[in-house]
Symmetry: C2
Subunit: 223 residues, 2 copies
DNA sequence: ACTACGGTTGAATCCTGAA
DNA sequence: GTTCAGGATTCAACCGTAG
């Protein structure tokens, strides 16, 4: 392994992943940029625009690298939206089997067209598995409720709860979890809480600093 | 109009729809064959295998015809599953805007891989709109809960409640509603209950007879 | 335990005005 | 004409607190 475990790398993930050994990752859990040029206009808080979110050109190279580093029977969880789910699913299916599409049901609905559309209340999570690896715990449904957390840190912050849930369903202690788009850091933080190893990339320096602060805070409180 | 309203035609819908006038349909509400060769093993009831369900060759011709007969600003609701949502969405998008993907959340979970997968609890409904037509009533979320109904009529029976909900959101009295894959008849029955007109096709004679019986029953009870 | 009520919030979309 | 950036806007769901 030419890469350090339990580190958040401030670099482009497609480059950085090249230093990860073949078939060494036990779980992929990530929230990719949706390719929507999203910038939150939420009230007074102005978040940094998501980098490289104006197109999905990175997707084929990214997926190829993911397939190289993630174990054959590992589970993959990839967040995406209804706007371009067909693009993500089609690309991922070139390498891995999309076994299910999970629904993260949020506690509240979003903005958008007020009169001509239904209010958005969920995010998709593409769940990939070749079928050999079992899920830990009982048989849960493919609709998962989890409350949104504060979005002071990141425009599209994911709840640590939800990440920990997926981590426990699909990995054991000391496994290696990869998140190429760490964002607010929910995956590395969840991994640390649950005593798994993580490899994380985040291209935005500000977010990297936030993640490292949050991780340090856990260290102080856990031990 | 060369076609009779409020009739269930026992024929292939791609042929039958040719008799519908251009841009004459106010709402499309249908549960297409998912292309999975589905045959329910539910309890003792053996359902008829869904015809033409082993492939999706019909889809391009079907969608072209749908686009011809449905009004430009009309809403389209097309049920589909996660297995091939990308195929349906991509094909539909050649003609219409998929504005949202609705989740029909069922009261119970389905079968499937008991150990290596999450239990299926929903169906997708592709919601298409060019954005000009408003939805009736309040602003509802894109997750819609509706109980499954008895499964003795049809393998993939949809609740009449749910169809009536969509009918009321997206049409007014005397509108024309099209269902090219009528199945158990939830759409024509919902349409009749809500005093809309329907055009329905169902290739399987047994199902046609069932639908007509159910429709007759409404006539008796409504008037 | 239950209801009532106030406070808070949203991976968006539309519209307007400037370039 | 066209594109683009930024500002205003919804109401249903949920939570916490109080009665």
């Amino acid at each position: 392994m030419q890469i350090e475990l339990n580190t958040v790398y401030n670099e482009d993930c497609v480059d950085g992943m090249k230093r990860i050994e073949d078939k060494s990752v036990d779980l992929l859990l990530t929230d990719v940029p949706y390719g929507m040029e999203f910038q939150s206009n939420y009230r007074n808080v102005k978040h940094i625009k998501i980098q490289n979110d104006n197109n999905l050109d990175w997707l084929p190279r990214w997926m190829k690298e993911i397939d190289r580093v993630v174990k054959e029977d590992a589970h993959l969880y990839i967040f995406c939206s209804h706007h371009n789910i067909e693009i993500f699913k089609s690309e991922i299916q070139k390498y891995r089997k999309v076994k299910n599409i999970l629904i993260w049901e949020k506690n509240n609905t979003g903005m958008g067209d007020l009169y001509g559309d239904y209010a958005p209340k969920y995010e998709f999570v593409l769940f990939c598995s070749n079928g050999k690896k079992k899920l830990n715990g009982g048989r849960d449904s493919n609709i998962i409720k989890a409350n949104r957390t504060q979005n002071d840190l990141h425009a599209t912050e994911k709840p640590v709860d939800l990440m920990e849930y997926f981590i426990e369903k699909s990995s054991v202690e000391d496994d290696i979890i990869l998140d190429p788009f760490a964002g607010s850091g929910a995956t590395p933080i969840g991994a640390k809480n649950k005593r798994r190893n993580y490899i994380a990339f985040e291209i935005e320096e500000t977010h990297c600093n936030t993640i490292n602060k949050r991780l340090k805070h856990i260290q102080a409180s856990l031990f």
